[in-house]
Amino acid sequence: MKKKHLHNEQLGYHTPEGYFEQSKKDILGFLETQKPASKSKPVFKPFFIGVGLVAVLVFGVFALNDNTNEFDSFEQLTIESLDLEEEEFDQWFDENFILNDV
């Protein structure tokens, strides 16, 4: 074959005797035990992206609500604390912060 001759003569690349016939047989024999990868259906892609987006939105809304409530109650307590006398503050602080968390 022309290619083989060109590679042998000009580049000095050789192959074992009968290499091409044998390697083709071996490789095709090996491939008989393999399965081609099945084509993935793109229909599922938008579905999973949609589910992901909804999950992120729901999680985001909950997280935001949670933070907002926390922020609101903290604000409320801070305002309440302004009405307290110095002596009452320790008790108020224990009730609203320390004991509240237990």
Partner: protein, 180 residues
């Protein structure tokens, strides 16, 4: 020898085993030589060729008919060869040999390479080219691929391929004229 149409028909009928056999009938030797020039050593080329076939076979159901089967197979063989070379490079990361001596060390380590039978000057001039110039020259001169096909295989711009080829051709001609 099988033609492109002999491969496309079974592929459209989802007869992948028939298609891969037709690919082997049409391009087996061409793919081997394409890989051999990139990885140089026969045993390495043999391993890379096997991996190429596995990728071709597994990729057949996803073939989009955007390019020819030939170009697609060459592209897989090319990428598989680069993957092999990268792995080799990682293994030899502290090898201090120069590019030219590394080129010849790789060649002469192969029992299926016969330096006496060829023009030593051709390999010398190839070793002096950049990797891109070497690849482009070999694909154009030995594989007889068109500039467009080389572009599809390597993802390089056609104009940069032309530039690399003509620069390589000039350097090789100069070197051969001076030494032979």
């Amino acid at each position: 020898m099988k033609s492109e149409a002999d491969i496309i028909q079974p592929l459209k009928n989802k007869q992948f085993a028939v298609a891969v056999t037709a690919i082997a009938d049409a391009y087996h030797e061409l793919l081997y030589w394409h890989i051999r020039k990139l990885v140089k050593h026969h045993e390495h080329a043999n391993d890379t060729l096997q991996n190429t076939y596995v990728r071709i076979f597994k990729g057949l159901p996803k073939f989009g008919f955007k390019s020819s089967i030939k170009t697609w197979c060459y592209r897989i063989a090319y990428n598989e060869s680069l993957r092999f070379l990268q792995q080799q490079q990682q293994l030899n990361y502290n090898d201090s040999t120069t590019e030219t001596s590394g080129y010849f060390a790789n060649l002469t380590a192969d029992p299926y390479f016969d330096l006496d039978s060829v023009s030593h000057a051709l390999h010398e001039s190839l070793a002096k080219l950049s990797v891109k110039q070497q690849q482009v020259f070999q694909m154009k001169y030995f594989d007889e691929l068109t500039f467009e096909e080389i572009s599809d295989i390597t993802s390089w711009n056609v104009n940069s391929i032309k530039t690399a080829f003509y620069a390589a051709k000039e350097k090789i001609t100069l070197h051969l004229t001076a030494t032979v």
